[in-house]
């Protein structure tokens, strides 16, 4: 292969793929039983980090950035005047194998613009995965994008070779989608999701009876939503996310702050800042829902449609529910311990184990590593010394913000001064 040409293609097609934030390489187990190349231990590895601090774990590229569609939020859209390129199937296979052997990556994340039609495109993505698995004996991670509208047969084949499949819903609301991607239908997104979900359910059922049932997308499916392109509220976003988690058994929903790349009067202006802080708060909320036992209607209600930017969502919830506090570290159950601001799940399990031996006081809690600057106002422990003053939520919030050094401080210093 001509090295210079490959290099040019790689720069174009990596550049076009980078707006998909998913980089997970975890969740799917694949053993290297035949002394082939690679394994997938179920724990993703970040082999590097970009200068914006994102994990680089997969070779994430488009097969091509030719596209017949014209979605407003996408750099690859038909009407955008950019350089186009396309990889050959074998080129992608060679790059993947050679990067993998040097320990640069965990595997491949292959997506594509849509050329000709959905099936034609999907067929080629599947061909790459098939070659890697069958010809190269490759057991590393493969994530394929499901092309909206692809046929059930192709989606079934895709899952036999890929660890994960994803369709990016991109726009959280149906009306937003209509506005920005008028020639795409909502059902086209849903159809492959539905198929993948059903295949996974079927695989699990058959596996119980027939051990040799071929594995199907062991790392499940995920999706991504662009944040801040169409004016939706955090509540709408998280309700959509909850819907996708429940309805399609999503492993992950990703939130990607909209990066203005194109001039278009339906979209935020080109100089708009990327809503990185908002994105971060949404991820925190996602964690609260998936691991901390919160339900979405505890975090949002009709008076509270958007997350606070200046404090994390758990603290926000606590301040709105001060009547639940203080919580006694030495007696509270797991569910309540998990709700204390400044205490993560790891600390929760350490507390549960340590308190079987003695009553815990401040020094124990400090050693265990909980963030006392936030937690101290919400707990009592084996000490007479605790926070007794009755405080209004707003005063408490300000005290806590002052004692916390947030990496995002510059974003809200102005708001802060309004309260002091």
């Amino acid at each position: 292969m001509s090295f210079e040409r490959i290099r040019e293609k790689l720069s174009i097609l990596a550049d076009a793929a980078k707006y998909d934030v998913s980089c997970a390489s975890s969740g799917g187990k694949r053993k290297n039983s035949s002394k082939g190349l690679g394994n997938n231990t179920g724990m993703g590895i970040c082999h590097s980090y970009t200068e914006d601090g994102r994990c680089v774990s997969l070779l994430k590229i488009l097969l091509t950035n030719h596209c017949i569609y014209d979605c407003a939020y996408c750099v690859t859209r038909k009407s955008n005047d950019i350089k186009r390129a396309a990889f050959k199937i074998q080129e992608v296979v060679d790059l993947t194998i050679n990067f993998y052997r040097r320990n640069y990556i965990e595997g491949l994340f292959l997506s594509s613009g849509i050329f000709k039609n959905a099936d034609f495109t999907m067929e080629r993505l599947v061909a790459v995965a098939k070659k890697l698995r069958l010809e190269e004996n490759f057991n590393g991670y493969i994530h394929l994008k499901s092309i909206p509208g692809a046929s059930d047969e192709l989606m079934r084949e895709a899952g036999l070779y890929a660890d994960r499949l994803s369709v990016n819903i991109e726009i959280p609301t149906v009306s937003g989608l209509q506005l920005l991607a008028p020639d795409k239908k909502h059902e086209d997104f849903i159809k492959p999701m539905e198929k993948v979900k059903n295949e996974i359910i079927q695989y699990k059922a058959e596996k119980k009876i027939i051990k040799s049932t071929p594995r199907y997308a062991p790392a499940g499916q995920s999706t991504q939503m662009i944040i801040g392109a169409t004016g939706e509220s955090d509540q709408e976003i998280m309700y959509s996310a909850t819907y996708y988690y429940k309805k399609f058994n999503m492993r992950r929903v990703y939130y990607s702050g909209y990066i203005p790349v194109l001039e278009d009067n339906r979209l935020p202006a080109i100089e708009t800042e990327v809503p990185i802080l908002r994105e971060n708060r949404l991820y925190q909320t996602d964690w609260l829902l998936r691991f901390y036992g919160f339900s979405v209607n505890e975090i949002f209600n009709k008076d509270h449609k958007n997350l606070d930017l200046d404090i994390d969502p758990k603290l926000g919830w606590a301040l709105r529910n001060l009547h639940e506090f203080p919580i006694d570290i030495n007696t509270a159950d797991k569910r309540m311990l998990a709700r204390i601001p400044g205490i993560g799940m790891q600390s929760v399990s350490k507390i549960l184990q340590a308190r079987r031996f003695r009553k815990l006081d401040w020094s124990h809690l400090k050693a265990i590593g909980i963030a006392l600057n936030r937690a101290q106002y919400f707990i009592v422990c084996n000490s007479k010394d605790f926070y007794k003053k009755e405080l209004s939520p707003i005063t408490l919030k300000n005290i806590i913000i002052k004692s916390t050094h947030s990496k995002y401080k510059k974003h809200f210093s102005q708001q802060l001064s309004l309260f002091t």
Binding site: L10, K35, H47, D52, R54, K60, F99, N137, A354
Partner: protein
């Protein structure tokens, strides 16, 4: 208080276990374990030299395995590999707790030794994980993939299973230039080796030894790395937090000469 006895050993894990053997065998009351290469703080010491014998270390370890979980065994080994000064003595107390049949106390994170071991093991675990991430193999003319590293802790023994399993069909070497030894996989087993090729001054494989397309793939990787960056999201602090500068010299994508 009874006089302290200093047990000197060779720095290996087996040697350390032999110290434990001796403490129990000779009923030493107030032991202090130290590796030979470490300087002493005290003027007068009552010194015992411990010789490393496989059967003795094996007996201690087997006794330990019977009473502990796999995670606890790993934590002990990891903490030992931290090479932190005096860590042997914290480990000894832990092992004593086990041999006194008090294993239920091993989850008592209110106890400072137990907490310390869990924290150090975690630190070492993090370094292990980093090595699994940041090793960059270079393919040489001999058809061997070689990487050099200088980990903060002595983690090569911990990463063997990962690399052996993952790169089962290629020969590879991972070399710790700081501790001057490496691990070599020859398609069957992994062995410990030392190589004269590397020295304090020569940390990496020279270009003359590269295989045919090696340089091209390094450049392609570099191209890829440059192109996945999103400038409008730049966050230097976060970048350095995830990718501390001391690891950069081994990362192909961070090398200046490409």
């Amino acid at each position: 208080m009874e006089q302290q006895t200093t047990l000197l050993y060779d720095g290996s894990f087996d040697g350390f276990l032999c110290c434990i053997y001796m403490i129990y065998d000779e009923k030493i009351k107030n032991p202090f374990i130290r590796r030979e290469s470490e300087k002493s703080q005290q003027l007068f010491e009552n010194i015992e030299y411990v010789t490393t014998e496989k059967q003795k270390s094996k007996r201690v370890w087997q006794g330990f395995i019977l009473k502990t979980t796999r995670k606890q065994q790993l934590d002990i080994f990891k903490t030992f590999l931290s090479e932190i000064k005096g860590v042997e003595n914290t480990l000894f107390k832990y092992i004593q707790t086990v041999f006194n049949d008090n294993t239920k106390y091993l989850t008592d994170y209110g106890n400072k030794d137990i907490l310390k071991i869990s924290q150090v093991a975690k630190m070492v675990g993090r370094e292990k994980h980093r090595m699994e991430a940041f090793v960059r193999f270079v393919l040489t003319k001999d058809n061997i993939y070689i990487a050099t590293v200088t980990p903060d802790f002595n983690v090569l023994p911990l990463i063997i299973p990962h690399f052996k399993d993952r790169y089962a069909d290629q020969k590879w070497v991972i070399y710790d230039v700081k501790r001057n030894y490496g691990i070599f996989y020859d398609l069957k087993t992994v062995e410990t080796i030392t190589m004269d090729y590397f020295s304090k001054l020569n940390h990496s494989i020279s270009k003359e030894a590269y295989a045919d397309k090696e340089n091209s793939f390094q450049e392609l990787w570099y191209t890829y790395y440059k192109n996945v960056n999103i400038t409008s999201r730049k966050n230097k602090k976060l970048h350095h937090q995830h990718l501390p500068k001391r690891y950069w010299k081994y990362l192909t994508e961070k090398r200046k000469d490409l």
